[in-house]
């Protein structure tokens, strides 16, 4: 029997790695990938809570399904925007996208 903490810690690790990726990476595609990692962590959390703590309902599982769906849509939209930027500016590097500031 795996204690729930294991899953929660795993989720935390995954989420933190995602955070690291978002903060450290310069490429927009890599950033969106890191966000996906974070969403994976969220899914793990939801499912773990659902199956361990609150099995009488499926709220957590349903939530996880939606998270995965939304994550997919997010990737799609983000990639569309990234592509547009690349077309116009020739870069997908977020550090170089800093016309707007101050």
């Amino acid at each position: 029997m795996i204690p729930i903490e294991n899953f929660l810690v795993l989720s935390g690790i995954l989420f933190s790695i995602g955070i690291y990726g978002v903060l450290a990476r310069r490429n927009a595609v890599l950033i969106i990938m890191s966000v996906e990692l974070m969403l994976q962590a969220v899914s793990i959390n939801f499912i773990a809570f659902a199956v361990y703590l609150h099995p009488e309902q499926f709220t957590g599982l349903i939530f996880a399904i939606f998270v995965i769906t939304i994550a997919a849509a997010e990737v799609g939209l983000a990639l569309g925007i990234i592509l547009r930027i690349f077309r116009n500016k020739g870069t997908a590097n977020v550090d170089e996208v800093d016309m707007l500031k101050w």
Binding site: I4, N6, V29, I44, I47, P55, A73
Partner: protein
């Protein structure tokens, strides 16, 4: 240590490894591949959590759709041709922040006195899940479809070439 735990630690290790690969790989394509690895491993975690359905969804959506999309975009944006480093200058802060968050989340997970630790449901009944999804959660479901629609429209409008471009 039960065999279940062994499997868990293995899957968890793969997940973490994959995730780390995503964020530290020196090659973007490697990153993408690591992401696939991580996603698959997470699907394994789902199975360990008895959520097989979720695992299938995970593999289908991520493995099938998302990663392919990502690879496409990588191709289109020619990220491999980019000469600069993949990491930005604030990497140390990133590590610090991620570490801090890790500490917090671990603290929250470990220190909490979670109720009903042992009563893990063994299997999620597809039927009931489906029923709940389309009956109780019908509205979010429909809204989610609208979200997908918006993402679709948005991606098409933004990505497509206009006349004269």
């Amino acid at each position: 240590m039960s065999y279940e735990e062994v499997i868990f630690y293995f899957v968890a290790a793969v997940t973490v490894l994959g995730a780390l690969g995503v964020v530290v790989a020196r090659n973007v394509v490697h990153s993408a591949l690591f992401l696939i690895l991580a996603l698959l491993a997470v699907a394994g975690v789902f199975i360990l959590l008895s959520a097989e359905f979720l695992a299938i969804v995970q593999i289908l959506i991520y493995g099938g759709a998302v990663t392919i999309l990502i690879l496409f975009v990588m191709m289109l944006t020619r990220v491999r041709d980019m000469p600069q480093a993949l990491d930005g200058p604030q990497r140390p802060f990133a590590a610090l922040a991620a570490g801090a968050f890790l500490a917090l989340s671990v603290l929250a997970a470990v220190s909490s006195d979670w109720p009903g630790e042992t009563e893990k449901i063994t299997v999620v009944p597809f039927r009931e899940l489906g029923d709940a999804l389309f009956r109780i959660w019908a509205v979010p479901f429909e809204v989610a479809s609208l979200v997908l629609l918006v993402a679709l429209i948005g991606a098409i409008i933004l990505a497509r070439s206009e006349e004269g471009e």
